[in-house]
């Protein structure tokens, strides 16, 4: 079966698209859309992606929001330190059998989950 091979983009409404895209660049290292800047795009690494519709009532996706994004990171503690140094409120990470996780929100209240998959 011919399948989709990956996620090539994600587009979402924002009150202030420009400052929010800079926030993602400066805090999570997600490069700006090349169509806008002519620069290099963000390039994802191969990996696992949990694509999952949730019930309307759930305790993961922030109230009033329709989605939540999980980003893989290489070193979650370093990322948390970096986010905090930039003035973001981020809780401590939690260790699970399938990796380290933390949840917080971007400046417009969109839910973000960061995930450091287990080594190997």
């Amino acid at each position: 079966m011919e399948k989709v091979t990956g996620i090539g983009g994600f587009f979402f409404r924002a009150s202030n698209p420009e400052s929010l895209s800079l926030w993602y660049r400066d805090n999570l290292g997600i490069d700006l859309a090349p169509q806008k800047t002519g620069g290099a795009p963000w390039v994802q690494e191969t990996g696992f992606t949990v694509f999952d519709p949730f019930p309307m009532q759930n305790d993961m996706i922030p109230a009033g929001k329709a989605w939540m994004m999980n980003f893989r990171v290489g070193n979650l503690q370093a990322m948390i330190d970096q986010l905090r140094a930039n003035g973001n409120g981020v809780p401590d990470l939690t260790d699970y059998p399938h990796g380290k996780f933390v949840e917080f929100a971007d400046p417009e209240g969109n839910g973000i989950q960061l995930w450091q998959p287990p080594a190997g």
Partner: protein, 135 residues
Amino acid sequence: MIKVQMPSNGRATGIGGFFFKAKNPEKLARWYEAMLGIQLTPKNYDDPPWRTEGGTTVFEPFAEDTDYFGAEGQSWMINFRVDDLDHVVLRLRNAAHDVHYEGDGDPFPNGRFAKLHDPEGNAIQLWEPGGKDPG
């Protein structure tokens, strides 16, 4: 004024998950599996989830009043890379889904695109990378 501080070692390396609200989550997940080949989320930690290939990803906030996502209440659109756009479009059309090629199917400098909505109205863009962007 936004402080520009590029990450040193903490950089998101990929999208590990996407979670979205649905009226009928189970049925919608099965639609994504049947139409686009996206594996269902495993019920345990032993089975692997969907494995995505690396590549170019445009992560982009849009203006609140954009008409790019279709319905007014639709707050997001996801783009999936495909190897063979025509093949996937044909399958969707055979299943009676309304799919539109962007630019009449002619290649853009970075490939070919089509758009549709899932059964709950969420916007989907399919992208066959090409030209300047191998994906």
